[in-house]
């Protein structure tokens, strides 16, 4: 122990890095999710205000097959910060509706800083009660086939 402690103290780095895997939704190679009660689930962030949008299949007797209803939950900021607990509570209700669903689309506003993006990615993955939606896709990235940028115009002789 007396040898291990100085070794660890001397070799350890101040900062430990971790990675957050990303899915880019427009890449077109994402496997489809199993159909469940929640068809689409999107979290939008504008400033500190969060909006959870979901398409939930109707389970009424009179509803047609595949008919969905849009549900929107607004999560207001908690003071100056994001209300992550409120977001997780809203997501937990959708997780209870469709426990098999693992994917969520996160669309932060352009001005949202990186620290809030990572906070949101952490918050939608899991809460105190367990896993929520671990497959996070970042949105706002335009879809479309890969196109090479136009070559710079040749200078006139």
């Amino acid at each position: 122990m007396f040898l291990l402690l100085p070794f660890l103290l001397l070799t350890t780095s101040v900062q430990k890095l971790v990675g957050l895997d990303l899915r880019i939704p427009s890449s077109g190679d994402l496997p489809p999710e199993l159909p469940g009660a929640v068809e689409d689930l999107t979290v939008r962030a504008e400033g500190k205000t969060l909006t959870v949008q979901a398409s939930v299949r109707k389970s009424d007797v009179g509803a047609n097959i595949g008919e969905t209803e849009a549900r929107v939950v607004e999560v207001d900021p908690a003071g100056e910060a994001l209300d992550l607990a409120g977001l997780q509570a809203a997501l937990r209700t959708f997780k209870r509706l469709d426990p098999e669903r693992t994917r969520v689309l996160l669309i932060p506003g352009d001005a949202v800083p990186g620290r809030d993006v990572v906070l949101l990615m952490d918050a939608v993955r899991a809460d105190r009660d367990g896993e929520l939606f671990p497959e996070v896709a970042l949105g706002g990235i335009e879809a479309g086939p890969a196109e090479a940028p136009a070559a710079p115009a040749e200078e006139a002789p």
């Binding site: 122990m1 007396f2 291990l4 402690l5 660890l8 103290l9 070799t11 350890t12 780095s13 101040v14 900062q15 430990k16 890095l17 971790v18 990675g19 957050l20 895997d21 990303l22 880019i24 427009s26 890449s27 190679d29 932060p108 506003g109 352009d110 001005a111 949202v112 800083p113 990186g114 620290r115 993006v117 990572v118 906070l119 990615m121 952490d122 993955r125 970042l138 706002g140 990235i141 335009e142 890969a146 196109e147 090479a148 940028p149």
Partner: protein, 148 residues
Amino acid sequence: MRRLTRPARKRADFGAAALAPMVDMLTILLVFLLKSWSTDPPVRPDDKTFALPTSTSERPVYTSLELDVTEEAIYLGGVRAAGSRFYVEQDETLIREIYEALQMRAGQPLQVRMDEDAPYELLRKVLFTAQQAGVEDVTVVAASRSSL
């Protein structure tokens, strides 16, 4: 004889009593160090304003091509490739300065190390460029909450 041996026994008792809390303390320190121990090199040590966002994730980061996004510039493999302000102010989504370099490394994993104050707009454009260049495996790097 009893008088001679008694003080020695007291000293031994005192030493044993003091050793136990010290071993406990060192064990706690050892566990803490083992939990937070890492050999990750510092990110952009020359840039004092750069700070990674903090995450609760525990997934380790593997060595791959590094793309740093700061409020001032975008660095690819540690070399400045483009200015950030231009791409924040302009609507252009494709970052041409890194497009070709990423295209040459298509198929390789990419680490995006973003400053915690950099706007999402920059990350969005970087991801779009990576996607267009054929990069599929993208990881956002953050600092662990268990960092020292």
